[in-house]
Symmetry: D2
């Protein structure tokens, strides 16, 4: 089980606001049935590595449908094979150390 | 007002777990008085660009105190000058589009 | 045609040096027949989006074979559909503007 | 001695091309006297951590001068304290392992 953070940024939008494109990405993601969490800087998704790369490919494609000709997609995958780590597990683990 | 996501990763830890180092970073951050939010993939901090670069420099240094000789720090700064965007504002903005 | 930068970092290596793992990643990449360029901070690969996501999946898996239980992989894909951009094209384009 | 890769992306450019902004960033960097290398996905700079964070702050500001109201800047710093690592050293180290 791994966690992926993905951020899909359309270039050439004429305005600084890209929220409509992010909403489009989240709509596609909602149809996939994977557990995810939207943050201010990206979307965190939980799944097996194969699932995560597969959904990343799909999400990267989303903004091109809206007359956008360039997309920069960033992905970070944190993949542990020694224990199961899901969404919120790492946050809880750090918080428990702080108490 | 800008948002920064930062992730500080010590290399050469002998175990896959780096939660103690992350907790160390958050402890330093708590002393700084900036609004922040811990996620599973990094820490999001709200502030002016100058404040964000300054705190990033400080957080990057934290793991070196624990016998670690190499640190890889990733930072992303999303800086808008046309409107004030704080923590949770972008999430709310996307959520409102999805409804 | 798109460009991808990928960096595959094994966590829990006991020493700060991870060059052996990077070499392992490059060996796998060499068998794939895609044009690539090694930099000090990652590997840049040229290809269609489908090819890039597919090879990224493969490269991410490489360090797990060497007793490593956690891998953090970062990927950035810059995908333009209005013109063909290959390795060195963006560098040349910026250099020509500077002259 | 550390290495930093930085990429400064203006949002809201109306065209997919951002090469003029990248050239502006490189022009500022050239005045700083630090060793750097332009790649297709960012700029790699060699220096002490303090120098790198300081120049990153300056480079991040560059596109705002050109009527741009939003900039997303990505930075990765790889900082080793056990040995001196400069530009091209990591590439050479991996290449020597491959031979």
């Amino acid at each position: 089980m791994a966690l992926m953070e993905i951020s899909v940024v359309p270039i050439g939008t004429s305005t600084p606001s890209i929220g409509d494109y992010i909403a489009g990405v989240v709509r596609i993601l909602e149809g996939e049935g994977l557990k995810y969490k939207l943050t201010d800087m990206g979307t965190i998704i939980e799944g097996e590595a194969d699932e995560l790369f597969s959904i990343a490919r799909k999400l990267h494609e989303t903004p091109f449908k809206d007359e956008i000709k360039r997309v920069i997609t960033q992905i970070e995958i944190d993949d542990r094979r020694d224990k199961k780590v899901g969404i919120e597990d790492k946050v809880k683990s750090v918080m428990s150390r702080l108490r």
